[in-house]
Symmetry: C2
Subunit: 593 residues, 2 copies
């Protein structure tokens, strides 16, 4: 080895090939120095020297010798001689190193669009390979106390079923242990650790379910399934499902079984289509509205159906896959994104988290317009939230010619030279109108005077023909008017609550399928959203799914989310004295003042 000038106190760590220098002190831990220097070194096992993820290469300089456990990892990994675990090195003098690519923590992009947000990959479940050292075993007194000591987790908990892998336990061979949230032993096995270690991110929507299979170590999305929620056959919206569930415990059970069967089918496709083993899925995160969460868990929903409209739980301890009969590893943990309130569910809490909005000083608004329109407004430390019974008009529901955004749905309309031009999904022959098309049509007809601001069709006509067999009736327009008014009223009351003028908003974030292809001008023209600069309206895509993915890949987000939620104030619109007045005013189509 070459000679480096050694200083008795300050020591240099030179990182090749860039030649970057980080200063350290004699005796200091190399992994800690690198972290302090801003290097995103993977210290998965918290410097315990057992995960083998913090490898670096020594180019020059003298360091302490490897201990027994490091030698073992080094052999297993078949590393070159120069490789060392950074967390096992305590500096003796200047040192020149190289950091292999795989020792740097990867981060992942959370949202698919709208905002570029990144987080470190740091899942709740971690695996460790542990070997048994006779003397340490004797000192520890029991196998589990030994594991506690090796992992340095004093409060390591375990359940009987997590020990099932022990049936033919022997102390000669290593054991692989899976620890959840740094404190719960969830699985023990022999041989190699599950690879890849997998998780599920689930967006459990009333209408649609999206499920992603994610590699918990790389953050890579290995597969995605989308399907209609099979519960649709028991009612198309939340309220009809609640009504069905309340008729009998059997019906509640039926709804639960339906959703679980469907999730299991989707999981099966990951196996058949992508070769992913069920037993390697050790985690799942579900982001759904409060009702969907209750139904998934088979919990009674009666309290959601009647005043005071409260849910049974807001947050719940992670469940085990086997408690839900979910066909992944039976000991996998299922994290349910916490509900904010009965009608502002885990989909919204996860979505806000995904968009990083809790850290955003504001003022801004976040809107998820489905059958319920959930609205969040934040200003500094104050966050208010409400849900409005917007009805399904903007999802294409309840309209004479309504359609979801499927092939042939009119999703855009424009006046070009005073002539109505329509555009359909995938250019297929028009066969109905979806939400974004409805907004365009309403704005155009208002502008033309075909629809009066009070919603009546001019000259007392019954309907407006768009093309053969596609039309808007007076009743369709009423539905749109009610949905628009509900949202506008809720939005206005929240802004008032924080003494905000809409023009003060830094941004309006639009989440959900609704936000994908919406004309901002036309939405403003009919009064769905306030008049602010176009570039301040930002479409975020499926924030619920992105939130599930974030909570799956980054354990500390779960804790952050729970503490953020404490700051949220729920505004019950019906209780606001101005609700009635504002609602009546909002029934008039037209831009915000």
């Amino acid at each position: 080895m070459g000679k480096l000038v050694e200083n008795l106190k300050e020591i240099k760590v030179i990182i090749e090939p860039e030649g970057r220098i980080i200063q350290g002190k004699r005796g200091e831990n190399l992994a800690q120095i690198l972290k302090r220097g801003g290097i995103n070194l993977n210290t998965w096992c918290n410097l315990k020297g057992i995960c083998g993820k913090c490898a670096i290469e020594i180019i020059e300089g003298r360091v302490n010798e490897k201990k027994e456990e490091e030698i073992k990892i080094w052999k297993i990994k078949n590393w070159p001689k120069t490789y060392r675990l950074a967390c096992q090195i305590f500096l003796e003098g200047d040192i020149k190193i190289k950091i292999p690519e795989e020792s740097i923590i990867k981060d992942f992009k959370i949202l698919d669009r709208g905002l570029m947000i990144k987080k470190e990959i740091e899942p709740a479940i971690k695996t460790y390979q542990i070997s048994f050292v006779h003397n340490d075993l004797v000192r520890a007194g029991s196998i589990l106390d030994y594991l506690r000591e090796k992992l340095n987790i004093e409060e390591l908990k375990f359940s009987l079923s997590s020990l099932e892998g022990l049936s033919e336990f022997d102390l000669e061979n290593d054991v692989i242990i899976y620890v959840y949230d740094g404190k719960e032993l969830v699985r023990l096995s022999k041989g190699a650790p599950a690879s890849p270690l997998l998780g599920l991110a689930i967006d459990l929507g009333t209408t649609t379910i999206v499920m992603e299979a994610i590699d918990l170590e790389s953050g890579e999305i290995l597969g995605r399934q989308t399907d209609f929620n099979h519960q649709l056959s028991f009612g198309s919206d939340i309220l009809s499902r609640i009504a069905f569930a309340c008729t009998s415990p059997d019906n509640l059970k039926k709804l639960q079984t339906t959703i679980i069967d469907e999730l299991n089918q989707m999981i099966g496709k990951f196996r058949d289509g992508c070769g992913l083993e069920e037993e390697n899925f050790m985690e799942a995160v579900v982001a759904g509205n409060a009702t969907m969460n209750h139904l998934l868990l088979g919990l009674p929903v009666a309290s959601l159906a009647r005043a005071p409209f409260i849910s049974l739980f807001s947050s719940i301890e992670p469940l085990r896959a086997k408690d839900l009969n979910l066909r992944i590893n039976p000991e996998a943990r299922i994290f349910i994104a916490p509900n904010i309130r009965s009608f502002v569910g885990g989909d919204i809490s996860a979505g806000l988290m995904a968009a990083g909005l809790f850290d955003h000083p504001g003022p801004f608004a976040f809107i998820d317009l489905g059958t319920n329109g959930e609205i969040v407004v934040k200003k500094d430390d104050q966050i208010v939230v409400t849900s409005t019974a917007a009805g399904p008009a903007f999802e294409g529901g309840n309209l004479s010619c309504g359609l979801p955004a499927v092939n042939g749905a009119i999703w855009r309309a424009e006046l070009i030279n005073h002539e109505l031009k329509i555009e359909t999904v995938n250019g297929r022959p028009a066969r109905g109108i979806c939400g974004s098309g409805l907004i365009d049509l309403l704005a155009i007809f208002l502008q033309q005077g075909v629809i009066k601001p009070d919603g009546r069709i001019a000259r007392g006509q019954e309907k407006i023909e768009i093309q053969a067999d596609i039309f808007l009736t007076q009743e369709d327009i009423r539905q749109a008017q009610l949905a628009c008014a509900a949202l506008k009223t809720g939005f206005r009351l929240l802004l008032e609550n924080l003494s905000l003028d809409p023009r003060q908003l830094q941004a309006i974030y639009l989440a959900g399928g609704f936000g994908q292809e919406l004309s901002i001008e036309n939405s403003q023209a009919i009064g769905l959203i306030p008049r602010i600069e176009k570039e301040k309206v930002i479409f975020l895509g499926n924030t619920s799914l992105a939130g599930a993915r974030l909570l799956l890949l980054n354990n500390s987000s779960r804790k952050d989310l729970l503490s953020f939620l404490e700051k949220i104030e729920y505004i019950s619109l019906a209780m606001e004295p101005n609700f009635q007045d504002y609602f009546l005013q909002a029934l008039k189509f037209g831009p915000w003042p």
Copy 2:
């Protein structure tokens, strides 16, 4: 109401009929004043005003008005007008009260004999009756958050299955909730709380199982069952059962099923014989040796069979009855008294606790002589413990004419006028020898020179006839010699470890069936226990059962026990350099030096 002289700051609480006075301050909580004054007032719900157990009667003086919830309790209980909840009263002026008997916390006697030890009744499971207040519900946001608030338990946890009682939940009626260890919601029900609320104390011995049904509120023992351990058919001692269990996972399962079936049969007898409902049992505490604990949980015992002879766990989180298929309330919690070490189990830890020995400054010794002889020696803050492979001779096992202490077993022998007089259990015709009889016989034969100190029978005889068909063979004496030597060696090494001379011991506590009817002089004569004053040898009876009872009725004992255990040092005899020497010396019968 009469007039009491009121002082602006210091206020008098006068307790009738004794007229005792406790001083308080204006605005202070009456329950707290009484507690501070040394009155053992029952404040079961921690002053939350919902348990109704802290009732007092106001004789004179003005107090604050009842709030809604107190009025409710007061109506339910049908109390006289003058009754109030002490925890809901904040002093305004001098007051004269009476404390009804039922508001004083009962305590219970722990040991059946030997030491008079009492503890407060304070089980881990508590029930609360909660009603729903509309406005508070709305503020709390969810039913479970409401319960958290009402109980003032921020971290209240619950599992899906604990919510099963909710299937037909309505907010009009009160709900009964069962909280375990002040933080876990284990059961929800409607109607009246389970009455009586029951618990099981189980002494899970290798040979015998004793089970008590206990009223968790009064501490009363409502029933007791004793039975041989049905696992005896798979091996009479621990080692043979371990061997059997290790042959195949099926055998392990068989041992588990056998013990659980047996426990369920015993529980069934409480129902049939005493009319106790299974579902009212909300708790059980098991005190057993480490092997029995493992077998009860169906956990592999291979590590107990081979060096380094360690158990899988020392302490384990409480289990749910349904995890073990125990037929009491499925959500009942099963607390397993923690093992100290592989061969010093929960029976010993519970026993030490029951006898209050952790608080005893010592120096003392505690001996539980079964197939394994467990020895504990304590001096100030040092506690050392070991187990010796004494073998079953002192339980009447492995002797040609050995018997447990059953009818007809010789359990006492004396020389009266140079003639051997024997006494049998229940005076029945002699048909064998049990442990205490063996000790007497050995001492007598030694004294007569019929047996030499080295164990040989004088004049090279094969056996010593006691009466027709009852005799001791040379081999029987060898067994006794080995058992005695094992115990003596262990005892001596522990004493040495703490630099104690046996004469310094304040007491020797003898636990187990062994200790019931033993001649102290004769035990000392053969060298089983050291020579100290007779009154310092104290028989404690079944400390394992008493320990289970204590842990069942007094929740804080569980925590105390766990922290005491940290102070215990296990001495592995085989590792001690003097072991071999001392053992050879101890093979000679005769008193300690």
